[in-house]
Symmetry: C2
Subunit: 200 residues, 2 copies
């Protein structure tokens, strides 16, 4: 046990719950906070508490936000006729970093996974459908992950949304920009072939 | 800015201060805490606060501890005639994990580094000397890191302690156990050659 101290052990355990943090990293973080100025430790403790208190989910797009509706849904200059569907808030973050997409989002909070008991009711599918039924949206871009669950979710949503007469598209999967062919795996290459676009 | 939320930004900044945590990891930790059950976030926030409140430094060995003197200094079955000098609490942790050393420790809280203005007075060298003068210690094992600063600190301490008539030794540096020669760097190999021990 680290310094035979129950409070340090609890701290290490709490750090280990973070994604991708193993025992050694958790111990390193704990030791750092205990050796660093007390203000650093207080700052992190407070930042976690305050952020968790202030952050809620947007009533429109279900993304994490400090204001409701979120700044993206409330933005007057964004294209309110296009909705991009992602699995997690991290997806919104990734696409926003690109800086070219100007439409709105919808966060599903996961993907369909019957084996784990995740059906449409466990996700925010109902709220997406209500949004689309309310009108004003012309296109839905499905940007769920390129995993079995993400693909199944994309298929399910495209059927539901297509039946409503709204255009549905899926983001392209293929060889990443800057990546040589030799670094792409078989499935990606096969997708890249199928998704080829005409030149000239 | 992540979700255009100042409180999330502050959380990401606080995570980035942890050792080895970059922007992407910090964002991943923040997003996880905001999406996870509120109890997880509270647990981490509380664990940091409580650990920082309870942990102090041992009056004897300057290691981090919840009780004073620390469990190692207070242990009746440990060898109180041997002191192992390390730079940081993480060094104590590493040696304790080995489980073979039965003596006491002394944590310097760093290494000599004149360029950064770190002299003996910035470290716990004075307290080490006071401990040794009080008597009862026969051997000091210097386990500072194998860096320029760690070596300089080892040289400095060995002169001071040797003048007091106490045996001083330095832990061995060489090829790690289980490691092939081809993976060891030049300096390590050169140390391993110089530090060779007689067989048979």
């Amino acid at each position: 046990m680290l310094f035979e101290s129950p409070s340090v052990e609890r701290l290490v355990e709490a750090f280990r719950r973070l994604p991708g943090v193993g025992k050694r990293s958790a111990e390193r973080y704990a030791l750092h906070l205990l050796s660093a100025p007390v203000e650093d430790a207080q700052a992190l403790s407070e930042a976690i508490r305050v952020a968790r208190e202030r952050i809620t989910t947007c009533g429109e797009c279900c993304n994490l936000t400090e204001s409701n509706p979120c700044p993206i849904c409330a933005h007057p200059n964004r294209d309110h006729t296009t909705v991009c569907v992602v699995e997690r808030p991290v997806g919104v973050m990734a696409i926003e970093k690109g800086g070219t997409y100007r439409g709105l989002y919808h966060v599903l909070n996961g993907a369909l996974n019957p084996l784990d008991g995740i059906g449409p009711d466990e996700l925010t599918v109902g709220r997406l459908m209500a949004r689309l039924k309310a009108g004003g949206v012309n296109e839905v871009i499905i940007a769920t992950n390129a995993t079995a669950e993400g693909e199944a979710t994309a298929m399910y949503l495209s059927k539901q949304i297509g039946a409503m007469g709204i255009a549905v598209s899926r983001i392209a999967h293929g060889v990443p920009m800057g990546g040589g062919l030799e670094f792409a795996d078989d499935v990606t290459l096969s997708h890249a072939m199928q998704g080829r676009t005409k030149l000239g």
